[in-house]
């Protein structure tokens, strides 16, 4: 620690940090632009100027930049000296000379760092009489809106986009006051993390395009702490709502899960909750196949009849439904009649669950991923399956360069200096994957192999580290690679093994577990990351009991053991082959489907019940690291919809053996019942405060900022009697502006705001230290901690991959946009998810004599389908990749052998989702 003096007051601050960080950490105000806690300092904006004195006798001092000055013990500084103030006012005045006078029509207004800093620096009137520079905007695709005139040239965007996120198509163009931040030509930004520009840009150059077209100011958004449902990482988010519509999703800082950033699927993928395909009312299928609308009361009656005491009831849960809903379904039907509803990834997911709970190696938190000095990726295109982890891995490769800089006495926050020293030095990151990946640019080595060969590499490296028997039949190159990598592993300090379910092949996960165990025996600091496809895959996997597979459900149905099948938030066509769903539907007299969106499965149902989405209900999700996190509703008026567990609770009324479920009126009671029954889930109660939480004046936490406007006019078209504040009995949050918004547990923070800091840059006011944990503690709770020694698990080395004699071996390939079911319905995601759905190697494309606009007819035992094709030169010979989750490819399974035929002139856009008439902004 160092003692510094600011304006005559003494403070204790962290040694080695920079003055700006220290000043902000002390809760003092100092304006800045180019510094960002995740990006470090470059000193380009000159805004954080303050006065430094040499000694107590020095009354003149000198202007220094806070962000570029290292804290030293005994430092004498002044923030409030008139010379420092005047300097800052001059800088902001210069930055504002070209600002285009468009705050009223800017989607950043009201949460604009430039507005805040202008007010803080005291600049008001434009004195410069010259002409304002102007720029022509670019079309940056359907997600990001560009308004270049607002730029103050702080360079944050390119530093984030290029240096942090590894993007190549956004750059600073031109020079001096002609500098322009954009692409070389109009076009969609390529990076999967481009959406963070919206929050990184301190002004309104980059804004959320869907928000620009349906705008609400930050102060008018009703928000609640939420969890992203678009993958298994469980990033913390803040959805904002107005007039019953989801307007935008912003990042909610959690230093162990997502830090400052989200991926574009998370940021823009929540729009499905506004979709026209949302189920708004319960419906009963009539003889003509149409659905007759039912009131909630009628629906409950119908449900209770179908789930009556003597009905043989089965249930299919869902890894995208909350833990509470799944548990309620399981309790309703009994665990021997409950199926978790996993899809083709089931075997790999089970292997991941074993690895997590019995592997004996701790899962990495976000800072641990970023701190890894050796990364081995086993069979996972991580950018597509768990994008936020990929962004963290991009930071991990910097560690060797950071070490070099540290050896020269350069602090890690000296961003430009560190990058200069590091040049292209990177910590080792090795990928064993089944197709080219987006991480290849930072990978030391990318080996593209068939999934079984990936598993063999994992086992071989594990054997090399354990000095075990090894794996027979590796090629000479592979053997050399394994030997080299083994020595690198021995030299590493904080190795990280990344794997997951994306290959749909359990042997890959077994290999990763064996490898992790072997590495962990060498280094106690070894960490693992396993990805799972959906937001609650791990939560559902953690439920204990004699659960059934989908195949068992079909078998039971065909044996006449099922009267009523309850399908909870699950589109069965995405889980099993069409033929099986048809057989199931034919064999079960009554199917009840509960879902948020209309899916194909609904057509097979006798009763369809509308379920509240993540913006309308409260629930718990368990992410891939086993962290239970709570999400809260942001919308108060949910109409006829109920949370899944509420429908199922009402269904239990007629069940004599489970009438106890009926008494579980509130979420907290459900949580208690889950904890009582499933001790491994006991922690979920502590994931967030319960509904009895009150702040220091006895109020719940506020969902609305204190400037929330229009209270007496919002609903005046319907009634003049101002409605009572909706009561949320389940949540510790109120649908009101009354209540604490500062001293809150992190799990209950609905927005960040501090006087003078309207933008999300106010976050530092809520952090215990800059870039560290929040003052309100860590939100959520880890349910899985490693027990015992590192265990290699199932150690069976698969046979080497042999290309099929005729045909191709299918490998599963995920895509960030389109593979995930719900986000694919969001208008922005829909617009960027079109593209080829089949990946061929260059040799195979040549063999099939494919021209540029030719497609391929893919023939399986079940039938044939026409696909648009892309060529990946790195694809292993004999394999062909298919994009998971596309509507016309749902019947394909990784590991199947298929044959291909040329389909000349096919340029069909992929049918991800039939367009539902939602406006796509282009």
């Amino acid at each position: 620690m160092a003692t510094i003096s600011i304006d005559g007051k003494h403070y204790e601050v962290e040694d080695g940090s920079n003055v700006l960080e220290a000043v902000l950490g002390l809760g003092l105000d100092l304006p800045y632009f180019c510094w960002h806690p995740a990006l470090g300092s470059v000193g380009s904006c000159r805004q954080c100027a303050l006065l430094q004195f040499q000694n107590a006798d020095d009354d003149r001092g000198r202007i220094v930049m806070g962000c570029m000055t290292q804290v030293t013990d005994g430092m004498l500084l002044s923030l409030s000296d008139s010379r420092a103030k005047a300097f800052r006012a001059d800088v902001i005045e210069a930055l504002m000379t070209n600002h285009p006078h468009d705050c009223p029509v800017c989607a950043e207004g009201g949460e604009c760092h430039l507005q805040d800093m202008t007010v803080m620096s005291g600049h008001r009137d434009r004195r410069y009489n010259g002409l304002k520079n102007t720029h022509v905007n670019q079309d940056l695709g359907p997600l990001i809106h560009h308004e270049m005139n607002r730029c103050i040239a702080c360079y944050r965007c390119v530093r984030y986009y290029q240096d942090y996120a590894g993007g190549t198509d956004l750059a600073a163009l031109g020079s001096h006051d002609h500098v322009y931040f954009g692409r070389h030509e109009d076009g969609t930004l390529e990076s999967e993390f481009a959406g963070n520009l919206v929050e990184v840009c301190p002004t309104g150059v980059f804004t959320d395009k869907s928000l620009v077209h349906d705008y609400t100011r930050k102060w008018d958004l009703q928000s609640a702490p939420s969890i992203c449902t678009a993958c298994g990482v469980g990033c913390n988010t803040i959805p904002g709502e107005r007039y019953g519509r989801l307007k935008r999703i912003h990042n909610r800082y959690h230093h162990e899960v997502n830090g400052y950033f989200l991926c574009d699927r998370g940021r823009f993928g929540g729009g499905w909750v506004n979709s026209e395909r949302r189920l708004r009312q319960a419906g009963a299928q009539m003889s003509d196949g149409c659905f007759a609308p039912l009131t909630q009361e009628q629906a409950v009656q119908r449900l209770q009849t179908l789930c009556g005491a003597d009905s043989k009831l089965w249930g299919i849960g869902s890894p995208r439904a909350s833990l509470e809903s799944n548990w309620m379904l399981r309790s309703l039907v009994g665990d021997e009649h409950y199926c978790p509803g996993f899809g083709p990834e089931q075997d790999a997911l089970r292997a991941v669950m074993t690895a997590l709970t019995e592997g004996g190696v701790a899962t990495a938190t976000l800072p641990e991923i970023e701190a890894a000095d050796l990364v081995i990726i086993v069979g996972e295109d991580i950018t597509q399956s768990a994008p936020r982890i990929a962004l963290a891995l991009r930071q991990s490769v910097r560690n060797l360069g950071l070490e070099q800089a540290a050896n020269l006495g350069v602090q890690h926050w000296q961003d430009a200096a560190v990058r200069n020293i590091a040049q292209n030095t990177r910590s080792p990151l090795v990928e064993w994957v089944s197709a080219s990946t987006r991480l290849a640019d930072v990978a030391t080595k990318t080996l593209t192999l068939a999934p079984t060969d990936i598993a063999r590499m994992g086992f071989a490296l594990a054997a090399a580290l354990d000095e075990g028997a090894g794996v027979d039949g590796l090629t000479a190159d592979q053997t050399t690679h394994v030997v080299q990598l083994a020595s690198r592993v021995l030299g590493a300090k904080r190795p990280l093994i990344v794997s997951g379910c994306s290959s749909h092949d359990a042997s890959v996960v077994y290999a990763a577990q064996a490898l992790a165990a072997a590495v962990a025996r060498r280094h106690a600091a070894t960490r693992v990351v396993y990805t799972v496809p959906e937001c609650n895959s791990v939560g559902v996997g953690l439920l204990k009991g004699t659960h059934k597979d989908l195949a068992d459900v079909v078998a039971a149905a065909e044996a006449g053991h099922i009267d009523t099948l309850v399908v909870l938030e699950n589109d069965l066509y995405r889980r099993m082959k069409k033929e099986w769903v048809t057989r199931l539907a034919a064999a079960v007299p009554n199917i009840v489907v509960l879902d948020a969106l209309e899916t194909s499965t609904c057509d097979a149902a006798q009763l369809v019940l509308p379920v509240a989405s993540f913006t309308e209900a409260e629930g718990t999700l368990v992410n891939a690291e086993g962290r239970a996190q709570r999400f809260y509703p942001v919308v108060s008026d949910v109409g006829e919809r109920l949370p899944g567990w509420q429908w199922l609770r009402l269904a239990a009324v007629g069940r004599a053996n489970r009438s106890d479920l009926e008494t579980l009126m509130h979420l907290d009671q459900v949580l208690e019942a889950i904890a009582a029954e499933q001790p491994q889930l006991d922690g979920i109660r502590a994931a967030a405060p319960d509904a009895s939480y009150r702040d220091r004046v006895g109020l719940k936490a506020a969902r609305q900022p204190h400037r929330y406007s229009g209270r007496t006019a919002m609903y005046a078209d319907k009634t003049l009697h101002e409605p009572k504040t909706p009561v949320d009995e389940d949540a510790p949050l109120s649908f009101s502006m009354e209540g604490e918004s500062h001293a809150l547990p992190s799990a209950l923070r609905s927005f960040v705001w501090d006087p003078g800091w309207n933008s999300n840059q106010s976050l530092h006011k809520f952090q215990a230290e800059i870039g560290g944990a929040l003052k309100g503690g860590s939100a959520g709770i880890r349910l899985i901690e490693p027990k015992g020694q590192p265990a290699p698990g199932a150690y069976s080395v698969p046979a080497a991959f042999e290309p099929p004699l005729s045909g191709w071996y299918l490998t599963a390939q995920y895509r960030i946009f389109g593979s995930e079911e719900m986000s694919a319905h969001a208008p922005g995601i829909l617009a960027v998810s079109a593209g080829p759905t089949l990946i061929l190697s260059a040799d195979d494309a040549l063999q099939l004599a494919l021209a540029a606009d030719d497609g391929v007819t893919l023939i399986t035992a079940d039938g044939s389908v026409d696909c648009e094709v892309t060529v990946d030169p790195a694809l292993p010979k004999g394999t062909v990749g298919f994009v998971v989750g596309h509507a016309h490819l749902l019947d394909l399974r990784a590991g199947e052998t298929v044959s291909l035929e040329k389909k000349p002139g096919l340029m069909r856009r992929s049918e991800v989702i039939a367009s539902d008439g939602v406006r796509v902004y282009g």
Partner: protein, 178 residues
């Protein structure tokens, strides 16, 4: 004694002033037969005005709504095909409005203005909820010349980048000239 005289004088002067008012012209008018003069800046019924070109001035920036101390303004922004921002709906609940004029002060485009009309009695309270079509007038109100989009850098149909007031031609990034 002096104090007594002084207070007596004060009393008499006061009485004289009060009596003097008997002979001044009455401010009271026989409303409603007779209408009083109300200055243009009188704060009465709120209107939404149009710019000199006849386009809606309101850009749905929400500043009036947030400035309103009683929260009686609610609106939703939308974007026209020509790039202008506009209010998709704009609602003022006059049964709550206190005619304070804060919305007018906050408005960056002179769109929302208070007028000298205060006669808004209704038998139905719901009739006091004014939607955009009730609020919008055809003229520019008190400010005849101001057109936000001529000043603002936002590009709209018919006004490209560099064509607003005090704006230079858009920069050619590819130029090598200094």
């Amino acid at each position: 004694m002096l104090a007594l005289l002084e207070s007596l004088r004060s009393q008499l002067v006061t009485m004289g002033r009060v009596l003097g008012h008997t002979f001044t012209r009455s401010e009271t008018v026989q409303y409603p037969e007779q209408k009083p003069y109300l200055a243009p800046r009188y704060r009465g019924r709120i209107v939404l005005t149009k710019d000199p070109d006849g386009e809606e001035r309101c850009v749905a920036c929400n500043l009036c709504a947030v400035a309103c101390p009683v929260g009686c303004i609610a609106l939703q922004q939308g974007v026209n095909d020509d790039g202008r921002w506009h209010a998709e709906f704009f609602r003022i609940n006059f049964s709550r409005c206190i005619m304070c004029g804060m919305c007018e002060e906050a408005c960056p485009t002179y769109a929302i203005q208070l007028t000298p009309d205060f006669e808004m009695c209704e038998y139905e309270r719901t009739s006091l909820v004014y939607e955009k079509e009730h609020l919008l007038i055809d003229g520019p109100g008190k400010y005849h010349d101001y057109n936000f989009y001529r000043v603002s850098g936002l590009e709209i149909a018919g006004k490209q980048k560099g064509q607003a007031q005090n704006e230079a031609e858009p920069i050619n990034v590819k130029s090598l000239l200094p």
